[in-house]
């Protein structure tokens, strides 16, 4: 049976964990991080931060009972359907809607390369867990400003997402599940921008190259509709909390090319989100926030050092380095109350809440039988409710899936094929045109054709019951094209 719960792969039991205990654990990890930053070597501090973020994000990735938005959000379900159908049929050129070409994505390419569909579908759930610390490592390895690199990494790990950007639906972590391709490409972007900034440090080309990289990546159109202009201006200014003020203070002392490009171009992209230019607000916010955080390290490092110098006068802290004491104070002061510690996607995001609900066992069992007992090339006729399930969970193409593709060009012809198949008449050339071979029906489906009970189809001359499954699922084969159950 197709396992679509990440926790299942790790052998973790299903069900909601104790949120209070989880939050207290995060708090403890945050305090430990602050304590370690007092004396430990910088890589250990970085590692402690990564443990904190991995726990904060990983908990929710594991809690998802299905990939984020699967069979809930049409965009996610569409690409998932394409992945499953590509993996199930072995024909990457065919779309999940029979007779339509495939809309290729990075994920369907992976499926075409032979990566199992379950793994491809689960990857986006894992991405935020991996990318957040990976970006910190990129900053650690590549950022030009070596003196402030530890603080930059810590701040990125803790504050890449804030409450206000999360509420606006553009938080780096909170909205990452809904932007898997952007998340995946963010890491190479950051690495390229930081590397370019470092290599071209002191050169006039540094800023334009970095700005071009950020601009090219940020201008990639996203699926999110544009936000109203005042909202994009709020995102530019007030939604950034203290980061804009701190970055402006930092900018007075000069910024390196990578940081300046991220702030400047990122800020322009944020403003452009309020204009009908198709800019993806998540991408804009991600680059802008990264730039603001790196720019803010200047004043924060200064402040941390000064605070540290004041604190090391106290006996327990006497043996520590002032700068480290300041960083520890910053972490202790702000991380336990930060967004990641308090993040609860179930309350913040309806799609995440729905994704915490597991798929019905009966449904999964029925789809598994379809996968095992029907021909991979056979096309299914299913109700609008179950057509996406057939494509995503069973990997079979469907004749119609109005919740995913509202009106294909030949909608009327498809409807005629549906009508004929359900009436018991041989769909003939129409059936052959679409490869129509199976009907999935459950109680309540196709009432518009006078079908009161799924068993009614048994009387139809051209339909042969292939199997029934718990939950009222019945699969019929269109007899005119009857072949052995498996290829």
């Amino acid at each position: 049976m197709m396992d679509l719960r990440l926790g299942e792969w790790l052998g973790l039991p299903a069900g909601h964990a104790d949120l209070a205990a989880f939050r207290w654990t995060l708090m403890l990890l945050a305090v430990t991080w602050a304590a370690l930053s007092l004396r430990s070597r910088p890589p250990v501090v970085l590692l402690a931060g990564m443990v904190y973020t991995t726990a904060a994000v990983g908990f929710w990735s594991l809690a998802l009972a299905r990939p984020y938005g699967l069979l809930i959000d049409p965009d996610t379900t569409r690409w998932a359907a394409q992945v499953s159908v590509t993996a199930g049929t072995g024909h990457p050129a065919e779309g999940f809607l029979s007779g339509e070409p495939a809309v290729a994505t990075l994920w369907s390419h992976l499926a075409a390369l032979g990566v199992p569909a379950e793994i491809v579908l689960l990857l986006p759930s894992l991405l935020p867990v991996v990318i957040l610390p990976a970006v910190a490592i990129a900053i650690w390895s590549l950022w030009n400003d070596r003196e402030r690199v530890l603080l930059g990494c810590c701040l990125w790990l803790a504050f890449s997402t804030g409450e206000l950007d999360a509420h606006r639906g553009v938080g780096f972590v909170s909205s990452a599940w809904g932007h898997p391709e952007a998340v995946l490409t963010f890491l190479p972007l950051v690495a390229a921008v930081l590397a370019a900034g470092r290599i071209l440090s002191g050169s006039r080309l540094g800023l334009p190259v970095c700005a071009a990289l950020v601009g090219l990546w940020g201008l990639h159109p996203g699926a999110t509709p544009p936000m109203p202009l005042p909202n994009s201006l709020l995102l530019l200014a007030l939604d950034q909390g203290p980061w804009l003020v701190l970055a402006l203070v930092g900018a007075r002392r000069g910024l390196d090319a990578a940081t300046a490009a991220s702030v400047g171009v990122g800020g322009l992209l944020v403003v452009a989100c309020g204009l009908p230019l198709g800019v993806d607000p998540w991408r804009a916010q991600a680059t802008y926030r990264l730039g603001l955080i790196l720019a803010a390290t200047g004043p924060l490092q200064h402040l941390a050092t000064r605070v540290g110098e004041a604190l090391i006068k106290y006996r327990p802290l006497r043996h520590f380095v002032a700068e480290r004491v300041g960083i520890a104070a910053l972490l202790l002061l702000f991380v336990p109350g930060s967004f990641l510690t308090r993040w609860d996607p179930a309350r913040l995001d309806p799609t995440a809440r729905a994704s915490l609900e597991p798929l019905s066992t009966n449904l999964k069992a029925a789809m598994e039988r379809i996968r095992e007992e029907t021909a991979a090339s056979g096309v299914f006729l299913a109700s609008p409710e179950y057509a996406p399930h057939v494509a995503v969970l069973a990997g079979r193409r469907v004749l119609l899936a109005p919740t995913l593709v509202a009106s294909p060009a030949d909608l009327e012809r498809r409807r005629r094929a549906e009508r004929e198949a359900l009436s018991g008449a041989d769909p003939g050339s129409l059936g052959q045109r679409y490869g129509l071979r199976y009907v999935l029906i459950t109680p309540g489906d196709f009432r518009q054709y006078g079908i009161e009970d799924p068993a009614d189809l048994t009387d139809r001359a051209s339909l042969r019951l292939l199997f029934t499954a718990r939950g009222g699922f019945r699969v019929y084969e269109i007899a005119a094209r009857a072949d052995p159950p498996t290829e």
């Binding site: 409450e163 201006l233 007030l238 003020v245 202790l332 702000f334 308090r342 309350r347």
Partner: protein, 575 residues
């Protein structure tokens, strides 16, 4: 109030975003100007302006009074006041014959409305703002700002930052997703009746902190006793805080004086309030069992109140330490109040776990406000110290603290559309039939007349109509609830005229509000058409309107009541 159809949801979202941008811009300019003006009052004015802005964005776009008909609290609180303004006794709730456990608020609202139910409905939305601003002003002037010198304890600067943090940092951006939601809307906007007690706290503590004298003790006792009448739960928190005050004063060799002060104040209070407290503990006790909290919820709340508040909590710890290190009485009193609040919360959590104590939300909000006050003092301390470290001139430190903290403050991010379910629920106007019926009740029935109505309709009769009811089934049951229930059943279901006469004689019940809700509660009542019942006379709406949503019937009309109603609108006469 803006009718719903004039502003679409998308338009409203845009309007509020522009308003927030404008507020942000003006605030930054104001803060920059404070570097030149250099007066604490200038910053106090900014805090008050932010309160006005936050109140305005939460109230002006609404189609009805904030939170009326959304949840229970607002309508119930209104129901406790409007009948009093219409002439009912202030010591009774809107259930006839039941003593009011928060009588001061009803009296206060009735008095400032000039005993006019219509004016109550106009004034009530503004009261939340007045109370919040009242708290700010009361805190600032109690005692009078010692000086604008920043080193002084309880200087104008320190107090203004305590106010700023108490009002603008007691709510966090993610609070609306938590169990008790946000202090700003669920406490400050929704419950001005409780927060009136906050206004009385600063003068109480200022009075207690003066030079020991019997007149001062008496003044403090009267103020504390007033808090008891306003909101007795606050009174209990303060009493607990005063016990901490005695304990903390011993450290400074003032334990004896403090003990005499507190004993006198509490003694006078116990004498004045004992009958009231007895009634409260026996009839409305917080020991009444409610749903029990589970341990996970308690732990979660502990985190929300603690490190979950992040820098605000740590600033509060620093503020507490600052107050602890001082020798003056006022510092010790505020610290004691905060410690009392935290102790009360711990106690409440114990009770909530074991027996399911009610009102756990109130202590949560109170602790958040106290943490805000402490955090403001801590923030001023930090600004002072950091200013020295970074060589920021003294005169610029208030502006610098404001500039750094403003992006995290409530006006910079509060979005009622997303964060306030009362706001969303109050966008639509009340149904026209309800408004007209309540208007008739206010204008066309006798002020002393009581109604038979059920559930939320009963609260509408009281809150918007200004008339009391027999009982509503939500508020704590009134005396003789079994008899009331029996009589109501007899009148509605059996059409018993003797029961109707008994209701009229014993409880002053003269009218019935027939509604869908009543028909659902008493389904067999409709077997006997109301208009055809002997002794029943329809008084609203006039004429025969098929499927009218709400109808008012007069019970057992007598000649005297007919003549008493001579001046009422034609609608009633025509019934």
């Amino acid at each position: 109030m803006v009718p719903e159809e004039t502003v679409t949801e998308a338009g409203l979202d845009s309007l509020l975003s522009w308003a927030r941008l404008l507020t942000g811009g003006v605030s930054i300019l104001w803060i920059l100007a404070s570097a030149r003006v250099r007066r604490a009052e200038w910053i106090l004015a900014a805090v008050v302006s932010w309160c006005v802005y936050l109140w305005a964005i939460s109230n002006l776009p609404l189609g009805r009074m904030y939170a009326v008909g959304v949840g229970h609290d607002r309508l119930m609180n209104l129901a406790l006041c409007t009948p009093v303004a219409a002439g009912s006794p202030f010591y009774e709730t809107y259930q006839v014959g039941q003593l009011n456990f928060e009588p001061f608020w009803s009296l206060f609202v009735a008095a400032i409305s000039g005993w006019s139910a219509d004016r109550v409905l106009l004034l009530y939305p503004v009261l939340a703002l007045l109370v919040v601003v009242g708290f700010a002003v009361s805190f600032y002037v109690s005692p009078r700002a010692l000086s604008n010198c920043e080193e002084g304890h309880w200087s104008g600067w320190e107090k203004v930052f305590a106010i700023y943090f108490a009002l603008m940092f007691s709510t966090g951006p993610a609070d609306h997703l938590e169990m008790y939601r946000s202090v700003w809307n669920v406490s400050f906007l929704l419950k001005p009746n409780h927060n009136l007690g906050l206004i009385l706290l600063p003068p109480l503590l200022a009075t207690l902190s003066g030079v020991p004298s019997w007149s001062r003790r008496l003044g403090a006792a009267l103020l504390l006793h007033l808090i008891g009448w306003v909101f007795v739960i606050f009174w209990a928190y303060v009493v607990l805080g005063l016990l901490f005050y005695v304990a903390l004063s011993r450290r400074h060799g003032k334990g004896r004086t403090a003990a005499v002060d507190v004993a006198t104040v509490l003694g006078i209070n116990l004498v004045l309030l004992s009958p009231y407290l007895f009634i409260l503990l026996t009839r409305y006790s917080f020991l009444l069992h409610g749903p029990r909290l589970d341990l996970a919820s308690v732990l979660d709340q502990a985190m929300t109140l603690g490190l979950g508040q992040g820098f605000v909590f740590l600033l509060a710890l620093l503020g507490g330490k600052t107050l602890y290190s001082r020798a003056d009485d006022l510092s010790r009193l505020w610290l004691s109040l905060a410690l009392g609040a935290v102790s009360a919360w711990v106690g409440y959590m114990g009770l909530a776990l074991t027996i399911g104590a009610t009102e756990t939300d109130e202590i949560y909000y109170f602790v958040r406000v106290m943490v805000g006050v402490m955090a403001g003092i801590g923030a001023w301390n930090v600004a002072h110290r950091t200013g020295e470290l970074l060589a920021v001139p003294k005169d610029l430190r208030p502006a610098a603290l404001l500039l750094v903290s403003f992006p995290l403050a409530l006006p910079a991010w509060w979005d009622p559309v997303q964060m306030d379910r009362y706001f969303a629920g109050s966008r639509a106007p009340l149904p026209d039939s309800l408004v007209k019926t309540m208007s008739f009740i206010r204008e066309g029935t006798e002020p002393e007349a009581a109604f038979l109505a059920v559930g939320e309709d009963a609260r509408f009769v009281a809150g918007l109509g200004g008339r009391r009811v027999l009982y509503d089934g939500y508020l704590t049951p009134p005396p003789n609830i079994a008899e009331r229930s029996r009589l109501q059943w007899a009148v509605l279901v059996e059409g018993d005229r003797a029961a109707a006469r008994a209701l009229r004689a014993q409880y002053g019940v003269r009218y019935v509000l027939i509604s869908d809700r009543l028909m659902a509660d008493y389904p067999t009542a409709q077997l006997r058409p109301f208009a055809a019942r002997p002794g029943w006379r329809k008084v609203f709406p006039a004429g025969s309107i098929p499927d009218a949503e709400l109808e008012v019937f007069e019970l057992e009309a007598t000649a005297s009541s007919e003549s008493a109603g001579a001046g009422i609108p034609a609608g009633r006469k025509g019934g």
